[in-house]
Symmetry: C2
Subunit: 243 residues, 2 copies
């Protein structure tokens, strides 16, 4: 059985303008791989209703799970929750359990639970909450879409809340061989090896160090013994390289 698939939607003008460097994609990619879920596509879109809704509608049909990052704070440009509700055709309103969590949090902090913060208790009908141990305002799961904050510490905490509840697949096994030759010298034999093992993903990553060319070959697959067998053949093709 093939592994479950995932797509990610990063929402935020600040990423597209180059002001902020996204780090949530790399974090989620690594966590999904460890869990045996294949990340098939990532999209980054602006804080625009049309852009968010188009992307959500397309991605939720394309992958088993969709993870969104960003746009669920208290300000005017935080429109993700409304867009998700609209994409699923359900209503959205302040929900009692989310409001209670947040009221208790702001009370402890001595901060005002004002109208802007109350927006973060708005949850689409039928969603389940995603715990936020960092700053309390919850994310939510609606259908196969997991809606999470963009602030990296909060995003990571929410990923840690959600992933254990999902059915994973066979974790990806990965082995790497460093070959001290240019990618163009490796490419021919490597292509033949890849054709011999269609179930494996064989990638080559060239580098240059102290003026010398080298290539890291990464062999990935869910069948560990097969990965090892392909790696042994590769090492035979390029003897004298580090194990």
């Amino acid at each position: 059985m093939p592994n479950p698939t995932a797509a990610m939607l990063v929402i935020g003008d600040e990423i597209l303008s180059g002001r902020t460097r996204d780090s949530n994609m790399h974090h989620l990619a690594g966590e999904l791989t460890r869990r045996g879920i294949t990340l098939v596509e990532v999209r980054v879109v602006s804080d625009s209703r049309d852009a968010i809704m188009t992307a959500v509608r397309e991605l939720k049909d394309r992958a088993d799970h969709v993870f969104t990052s960003g746009g669920i704070g208290p300000t005017h440009d935080d429109i993700t929750a409304d867009c998700i509700a609209a994409a699923f055709g359900v209503s959205i309103d302040v929900r009692d359990d989310a409001r209670a969590l947040m009221a208790a949090h702001y009370d402890r902090q001595g901060m005002e639970f004002n109208a802007a913060r109350m927006r973060m208790a708005r949850i689409p009908e039928g969603a389940t909450l995603i715990e936020n141990p960092v700053s309390v305002a919850p994310g939510f799961t609606l259908g196969n879409v997991h809606v999470m904050a963009g602030v990296p510490t909060v995003f990571q905490a929410m990923v840690a809340s959600v992933l254990p509840k999902l059915t994973g697949g066979a974790p990806l096994q990965s082995q790497t061989l460093r070959i001290d030759r240019g990618e163009g010298d490796v490419a021919g034999p490597l292509g033949e090896l890849a054709a011999e093992y269609p179930e494996l993903s064989i990638g080559s990553y060239p580098f240059q160090r102290d003026g010398a060319y080298g290539t890291n070959i990464v062999i990935r697959g869910t069948d560990g013994p097969m990965v090892s067998a392909a790696m042994a053949k590769l090492a035979q093709l390029f003897p004298g390289t580090p194990a």
Copy 2:
């Protein structure tokens, strides 16, 4: 006149598996903003023919320019050039000028110009070459799609070759105000300011430092005096904050 738009397509299993952290998106985003071109969407897809062709077809109709990153090396999984040719319905073959550039380069380096490296001289019919001052093998522009390498030093050099040839728009002006209050305290007045200036993009970025909450407000737009006027109002709303 609105600024020209761009989309980016990052191609590579290694990004989606979490092995490699993409840095090309952040670089391109900053360069486009400086040039007055609005990046409206980024997609990351795997080294799969279907995924690349679907994304290229959709993005080239959605934005004035599409920039791709990755998948133009010498190995079996480098299929970007073929997919772009197929997406435009044109043929692809080794082209004399690209082959001559590369033959001279490998000759100088004392490296074999073998069949694998020759693949990098395959250019779709009707494309123009993008110079690669780092490792010579060229990128290309076909229609509104600019096809570039994934290795960051090469990608950056190719961006530097392409961008001066494009018509830019009014560069985005940006001003930032740090407010030493939580985002939820800022959100109400900020929403009113945003409604007053629909032409501007007003973003808020919360942070926590030494246990205290703060929010950076970024006001962006192509009309510099308007950005300054909105920023002056914001500073009045939150007096006593650093200028």
